[in-house]
């Protein structure tokens, strides 16, 4: 098994765990964490794909991952802030449809 | 007049009504005088433009404007004699109805909304008249639905809203059928202007795919049959009676039912052509349906105690004469049907004006409350009488002329059963109108007086329109032999347009 394939498999496994978590966990914090995990899975896949040969590394996926990380950080920050505001206003940790 | 001016007359006449509507909306409820000015100015200007077009057509000009609305689909306005028959009817009656409506509604709420949509309604009717192809016809036909809805629900009470729902359920359903039919027609033959005697490409298509052509024809006719109130699609019309009297007058005489009947004429004569429609087996069915509607409407009218409802069922019956005339084929029946397009309009608008006058002046809605009303309101009652006798078909009034032509037209086509239908209709008409006339003129007024506390006669803004249209009922009959009578014009349409019949 090549290194790239191994990384890709791990990325796939992570993505599966993340989606499972998103579906089964209703706590907002866990859901935000699950989204982060999914992001990491995608980034891992991109990094794995960047390796084009023993010595050749494609820089473009790295740039994409960097951009993606910036977006993921801001999105997480905003989601946390929103969840806090929601918690502050309602005292709930879950969305109404999920039994808050 | 220059050729360019002629080309833009149809557009100008259409724009007049639209601009009037926009101005009235912008003025708001409070500015009564300006609104009245716009109302009368718009109606008069449009009438003059239509009259100029009639003059132009007599001189042999053709009016047409077209621009592409979609790739390969034109928005086309064209003034052929048939278009002008309907356009003239709508323009004249718009002016009269505007005068009446101003007097009738000037003290109720939401006048800007009412008169704005009233104008849009007439713009749509004018567009239907001058539509030069099926796309344009559909466009204005659907626009009419939208413009009439606020008029039907004008009073805003639950009965009005329920009537509005019923109206929409029928007309939007019909509109959907017409849309599907028109699009299918375009998909099959592409952009084709209305052609007197039938579009050649449609004939060609019908040869190759008769089943599809028949299906499309049925869809198209089903679409217009709703507004024409052909049985069993007539349910909305009596319900829409809750609207104010000028709206009923407009709906029944000019705009909605006439748009449907006019659509039947256009589709049969100018899209498929009568011979093709007959060959596809559609016209016999249409004639049967129209005959059923004629009898059904009259029978239902007998049982009504509300005056406007009786008039509504009478409309169901009378408008079907137009479809009957078209469906029978032959020049005489078609002339009768086309003349009836105008005659029924003038007669029915008079009746609704008078019903409105009774309601507005004396608070009378029910037929059994009309006893002795002729002594209190002789002028209104005289107008009512002329129109009612015209409906029955008493010579020399307008209704007689149409029925005569329909009758001899049917005999010429070897359809003697139609004469039976006409006779039955005349008897039924007499049965539901004569008792009303008897109450008005012969029975004594109630001892306790009339419910409303109005003056002796209706307000002159209400009376004059009714008298004018009643006079038109008389004149259309008396002067039927002249070239400019509705009959004369109908003969002209048939002679020029349908020599093949």
């Amino acid at each position: 098994m090549t290194q790239a394939a191994l990384y890709s498999l791990v990325a796939g496994g992570l993505a599966g765990i993340a989606v499972y978590g998103l579906i089964t966990c209703t706590h907002l914090l866990r859901r935000i964490l699950a989204l982060n995990l999914l992001g990491s899975a995608v980034f891992l896949l991109l990094v794995a794909l960047a390796r084009r040969g023993p010595q050749a590394v494609d820089p473009l996926p790295h740039a994409m991952v960097l951009t993606g990380i910036v977006i993921a950080v801001s999105a997480t920050a905003f989601a946390l802030a929103l969840a806090r505001r929601y918690h502050g206003r309602t005292g709930a940790e879950r969305l109404p449809e999920d039994g808050a | 007049m220059s050729a360019l001016l002629y080309a833009y007359l149809p557009l100008g006449a259409l724009a007049t009504a639209v601009v009037t509507a926009a101005a009235i909306f912008a003025l708001g409820d409070a500015r009564r005088r300006q609104r009245t000015f716009w109302n009368l100015f718009g109606a008069t200007a449009k009438l003059l433009m239509v009259a100029a077009m009639v003059g132009g057509v007599l001189e042999g000009h053709t009016f047409a404007v077209a621009w592409p609305a979609l790739p390969g689909v034109e928005l086309r306005l064209a003034a052929d004699p048939l278009a002008l028959l309907f356009a003239m009817l709508s323009s004249v009656l718009w002016l009269v109805t505007t005068v009446y409506a101003i007097a009738y509604l000037e003290h109720s709420g939401q006048r800007a909304r009412f008169f704005g949509f009233f104008s849009l309604c007439v713009a749509a009717t004018f567009g239907i008249a001058l539509a030069g192809n099926a796309f344009t016809f559909l466009l204005f036909y659907e626009m009419l639905t939208l413009a009439t809805y606020p008029l039907v629900v004008h009073r805003g009470h639950p009965a009005a809203l329920a009537a509005g729902r019923l109206y929409l359920a029928h007309t939007l359903g019909g509109g959907a059928a017409l849309l599907a039919g028109t699009v299918a027609l375009y998909a099959a033959v592409g952009e084709q202007p209305f052609t007197a005697g039938g579009i050649p490409a449609v004939a060609l298509w019908a040869e190759q795919a008769p089943a599809a052509a028949t299906a499309v024809l049925v869809l198209l006719l089903a679409g217009v049959a709703v507004k024409a109130a052909l049985f069993p699609l007539q349910g909305w019309l009596p319900a829409a009676m809750v609207a104010p009297a000028p709206v009923s007058a407009l709906l029944h005489a000019v705009a909605v039912v006439k748009a449907g009947a006019f659509g039947v004429v256009r589709i049969i004569e100018d899209v498929y052509g009568y011979p093709l429609a007959a060959e596809l087996g559609v016209t016999p069915a249409l004639a049967g349906l129209a005959a059923v509607t004629v009898v059904y409407g009259s029978v239902r009218a007998l049982a009504q105690v509300d005056l406007k409802r009786r008039l509504a069922f009478s409309t169901v019956s009378q408008v079907s004469f137009i479809s009957l005339g078209v469906a029978l084929g032959g020049p005489l029946a078609l002339i009768g049907g086309l003349a009836h397009l105008v005659h029924q309009g003038v007669m029915k608008i008079t009746l609704f004006f008078c019903a409105g006058n009774y309601a507005e002046t004396l608070g009378i809605h029910r037929i059994d409350a009309l006893n002795g009303v002729g002594r209190r309101m002789p002028a209104t009652s005289a107008a009512f009488t002329v129109a009612a006798l015209g409906m029955i078909g008493l010579p020399p009034l307008a209704g007689f002329i149409s029925k005569w032509y329909l009758g001899i037209g049917a005999l010429a086509q070897g359809q003697a059963w139609v004469v039976g239908v006409l006779a039955a209709s005349t008897l039924l008409n007499a049965a539901y109108f004569l008792p009303v006339l008897r109450r008005i003129w012969l029975l004594p007024p109630p001892a306790a007086g009339f419910p409303g506390a109005g003056g002796a006669e209706a307000h002159r803004g209400l009376l004059i329109p009714a008298l004018l249209t009643a006079a038109a009922v008389l004149l259309a009959g008396l002067l039927a032999a002249t070239a400019f009578s509705p009959l004369g014009w109908a003969e002209r349409i048939v002679e020029r347009g349908y020599p093949g019949l």
Partner: protein
């Protein structure tokens, strides 16, 4: 005339305006958003002219060509969407100042968010590579969710959170698909990737992931659940932008990617699947709209239904006789729906502003302050129903002509039936507005006068639909520029 620069300016001008408003504060420069908006609209108009005259326009940011640089690409479809976006965005910008003041929303928060959203929107229409699109999609999400939360109530916060979580999931699933495409082809360019991708299993997986992500963004049934709460809780001008533009961008990208990047994968069954989802949305959204008791939820569910029509293009694009008409109809529908939906939401905002609520049962006997808004609502609904003479009618005609011309009776039934369902909920609202007040009825609080700019904006937007209803030929001519093969 700014020549080739109008293409990047369409993206950067709103972004710069957002920055300027953020630094200067909207309080001190209340004219700034409208000025920036007008400049953006001018750049867009110039770009539309260029596309119409010279065909598709390409611009490489900073002179760097792909794969390292970023390419902006404007063809006829993008130009049409940019133009629609500019009209709606100008209306939203003109409307918002008075609305935010009157309803006590924080304008300093609103303006930068909204202007960045406009930039992101233009960016999404113009992006030529898949990753750039991901960035724009995230920007749209990260500006849209706080706009929803600005509604302030508990329901608004919950709706914003739900929307954010689902939209982020959608973006990441989309990015997963992009990563697969890059791995398979080594390029991110929309058309180049399409040419290299073929129709193997990797391509299918990538297309599936990307579509799943975009189906969330476009609120396609059954992934629509976030839309109604979010779009009805947001402040009215934000609702207008979200429904008319942001959700539309999702549907736009779905169509663009299927027609430009994955045309080889678009088989008949797949087209039927995606079109079927769209049709389900048409029916489900309309039925839900019929059941709502408040005005904004009706309009929001109407978005679910109307976006469904766009997906009908995919099955029709696989039928030779149907494709060109359906393509034109879908594009014109996107345009007409944008204007109509924005007009409807802004008019609903006026109702809220004036009455303090938008319950249908309380709309009866609407005050004279609202007659223009009700007219705008009615005119906009007429276009949504596809009644003439509106742009919506011409769009429906073309879609229907495609379906009937290609012998696709099922899709034709959806188009005609959807129009009738739309009429059902539209006239429910209009009937309520026409109803007379019950005797003895008086408002709990007296209706408030709507400022002229708020009264006129929805009306003008609605009237634009009638102008566009007179002829679709100029817009459809523009659409020809760079149209995919078999559709133009």
């Amino acid at each position: 005339m700014v020549g080739a620069l109008s293409l990047p300016l369409a993206f950067f001008l709103p972004l710069l305006t957002a920055l300027a408003v953020f630094l200067l504060r909207a309080r001190r420069a209340p004219w700034l958003p409208l000025l920036g908006g007008a400049a953006t609209a001018a750049a867009v108009a110039d770009l539309i002219g260029q596309v119409a005259r010279e065909g598709p326009q390409v611009y490489h940011l900073g002179g760097w060509a792909p794969p390292l640089g970023i390419e902006l690409y404007a063809d006829g479809l993008a130009a049409l969407m940019l133009g629609m976006g500019a009209l709606v965005a100008l209306a939203v910008t003109a409307y918002s100042g008075a609305y935010l003041r009157g309803q006590g929303h924080d304008a300093e928060l609103f303006w930068p968010l909204w202007l960045v959203q406009w930039a992101a929107l233009n960016g999404a229409f113009l992006a030529a590579d898949l990753f750039n699109l991901y960035v724009m999609l995230e920007l749209l999400t990260l500006t849209a969710a706080p706009l929803v939360a600005m509604g302030g109530e508990r329901a608004a916060l919950a709706a914003a959170l739900r929307y954010l979580l689902l939209a982020l999931l959608g973006s990441l699933v989309y990015l997963l698909g992009v990563a697969l495409i890059y791995g398979a082809t080594g390029t991110l360019h929309l058309r180049e990737a399409g040419a290299l991708l073929g129709d193997g299993p990797a391509a299918a997986l990538a297309a599936g992931l990307i579509s799943a992500g975009l189906l969330v963004k476009a609120a396609v049934f059954p992934l629509h659940i976030w839309l109604m709460p979010a779009h009805s809780a947001a402040p009215a001008p934000a609702s207008a932008a979200l429904s008319a533009l942001v959700a539309k961008a999702g549907a736009y990208l779905l169509l663009r990617l299927w027609l430009w990047t994955f045309p080889a994968l678009l088989s008949v069954p797949l087209g039927w699947l995606l079109g079927g989802l769209g049709a389900a949305g048409v029916v489900y959204g309309s039925l839900q709209a019929l059941r709502q008791t408040r005005l904004k939820p009706v309009i929001a569910y109407s978005t679910v239904a109307q976006l469904g029509y766009l997906l009908l293009l995919l099955p029709l694009a696989t039928v030779a006789g149907a494709a060109p008409h359906a393509w034109q109809g879908a594009a014109y529908h996107a345009l007409a729906h944008g204007l109509a939906k924005a007009a409807a939401f802004l008019a609903a905002g006026n109702v809220l502003y004036s009455l303090g609520h938008d319950r249908l049962a309380g709309l009866h006997g609407l005050t004279p302050y609202l007659s223009g808004s009700v007219l705008a609502l009615g005119l906009a609904f007429a276009s949504l129903m596809g009644l003439p003479p509106t742009a919506g009618f011409l769009a429906k005609w073309e879609l229907l002509r495609g379906a009937l011309g290609g012998g696709q009776w099922g899709w034709a039934a959806v188009i005609v039936g959807g129009g009738l369902l739309t009429a059902g909920y539209a006239f429910r609202v209009l009937a309520a507005a026409h109803a007379a007040s019950p005797p003895g009825y008086s408002e709990i609080r007296p209706p408030r006068r709507v400022p002229p700019v708020m009264a006129w904006t929805p009306l003008l937007l609605a009237l634009a639909l009638y102008l566009l209803g007179l002829s679709a030929v100029p817009a459809l001519g523009l659409l020809e520029q760079g149209a995919p093969e078999g559709l133009g």
